[in-house]
Subunit: 382 residues, 2 copies
Amino acid sequence: MRNWLLPEFIEDSLPTEAARIEMLRRTLLDEFRAHGYELVAPPMLEYLESLLTGTGHDLDLRTFKLVDQLSGRMMGVRADITPQVARIDAHLLNRDGVTRLCYCGSVLHTRPRAVDATREPLQAGAEIYGHAGIESDLEIQRLLFSALSACGVGAARLDLGHVGVFRALCRRAAIGPELEGELHEALEAKDRAALQALCAGLPAETRAALAGMPGLYGDSDVIERARRELPDYPEIAAALGDLERLSLDNRFQVGIDLADLRGYHYHSGVVFSAYVEGRASAVALGGRYDEVGKAFGRARAATGFSLDLRTLARLLPGAEPPGAILAPWDGDAALAAEIARLRGAGEIVIQALPAARDGEGCTRELVKGPGGWQARDRAKRS
Amino acid sequence: MRNWLLPEFIEDSLPTEAARIEMLRRTLLDEFRAHGYELVAPPMLEYLESLLTGTGHDLDLRTFKLVDQLSGRMMGVRADITPQVARIDAHLLNRDGVTRLCYCGSVLHTRPRAVDATREPLQAGAEIYGHAGIESDLEIQRLLFSALSACGVGAARLDLGHVGVFRALCRRAAIGPELEGELHEALEAKDRAALQALCAGLPAETRAALAGMPGLYGDSDVIERARRELPDYPEIAAALGDLERLSLDNRFQVGIDLADLRGYHYHSGVVFSAYVEGRASAVALGGRYDEVGKAFGRARAATGFSLDLRTLARLLPGAEPPGAILAPWDGDAALAAEIARLRGAGEIVIQALPAARDGEGCTRELVKGPGGWQARDRAKRS
């Protein structure tokens, strides 16, 4: 094996892809900024307790662990940035009012999330802290829509769910944590047979509701169907009311999926997944997670989303490489001034290094004419 | 111990610092791009053999090691990006002509390089491959100068060295690798006593030259002094000629330091360190490292520099936070249009979430007057 092969699900970004990712990065961060989201950058490394506080077993398995030579304590390389941002809101900023934060950075996963996933996502996201109402969920979804549009990703669809429905069914039927976990897995996998087996000993109402959940998927009339089919608990009515409000007032084309419990371990309310043309799996995931800050001693209402810029970059059409201008290495002061002017105006100017094959990709060149230095097409050279 | 303390030499970047780092990042990458440097993004993780190929023991000690669950092989989290970019030039791009590459990404260190250093530098840099002449060293130094100027870092000074001088002394005196390593350490530490002891058995000419090297430090007249004091080997004459050419044709204020052997293990020619006002240690390091690609099976001439954006960001004056505009949550179509217009023009507009303390940092607000929605100072509100 050649020693420069990369590990599986780990890749270099070469110039075309790297430029596209950088463009997306700036577009997203500019969009977040324009909406009042302040950029923060938590570290790649934290002590494990801090990194995994309030998160689930799945994130634990996905996190690379390291020994800190300075303290002897275990550290982890972050596999998700959202809990870090919740820590920053809870402890470092410590504001009482609404706080909007955003971030963009690499995370590492011990194993890829899917066969087409990377183990090094470039995670970007936005979060609102300190507002428990449906309006902040709406704001976050609007921000996601305008961010995806600004990135040039078209035909976006949003699937909405609400972990409150499943939670209410479990609590009302006094289902223990072990069975709850198994039911959650069966629902996630949409495994109706397993679901039926697990429901065997439960009250008829709960059994019927759980068995029906995988079918509560489709466009927004699912909400009406859920009102008829699910038990009439106030928590469920409130959850369905939230979903209705979000589906009426949304710029995305909205679908409902009541069995979507992807982020169940840390989410507490509305959850959503955004899909775009050209990719079967979601490009962005988000939702409400009011409980995460509690682990840091300060529970704050929270809602947000995150996405992987590498995945997004693959969905965009390849851009033509920008045409660079070749300039001679030696020249007069006027050449230096013209080069500086062109670079300042956003052009790429390469000064050809002596005795080398240089500037082969340049489409234009700077030549001295009667009117001074001017860029002209290289093809025109005779 | 509260579980949200961060490990030593690891920090969050909160909004003011994160915004400043993002600004610097864009400024640097734009400067690199304008000079024809193509962005690449190697991964955070590689197999250890690949990551440490052609680098020194110091980088090995500084690299966090992990087991790859997928292959069972050892991986490392990169502690330096330069060797990764050399790998990309050697194998992935595989061009014959001159190639200019740049990068910006996080690296992790098991231990900090200095008491004021971070264990998570944000390393940015630029490299030229495929040109062995002094002009590429000059181009790289000019690029560093314009990059630092664009970032607003003032009064820059460049210390130049050349590893060829020490290498020639060792080779001519047939000094073995062990003694060479010890001499290197003593020179790095400018430890004259240790140097004298190590030189005891060497030829008089070599002894005098090595003993004199720590003194060959100062402004460019050091080159003349070195010509008189060092042996008249052609390699040394060539090295001093290179240094003279660089010191004459440089926009930095140049100093010479012949005992600067910092990157000795992978550098092969001119080396340099850039200093700015407000910080005793170097803000950027660079030099020629023609041998690194060889480990990947394709030796290419190479020269470049790198710097840590976190360090650079600390040297800049704190910027006033931008004044955001507060807008009501509910409004007419004209409000939505005005908000979109302002955001598109680079303004930050926050729509106040209902029933919450929101937009407390806003300096202006959108109000509806006879002429439509207009932004006015919040202080003027009566």
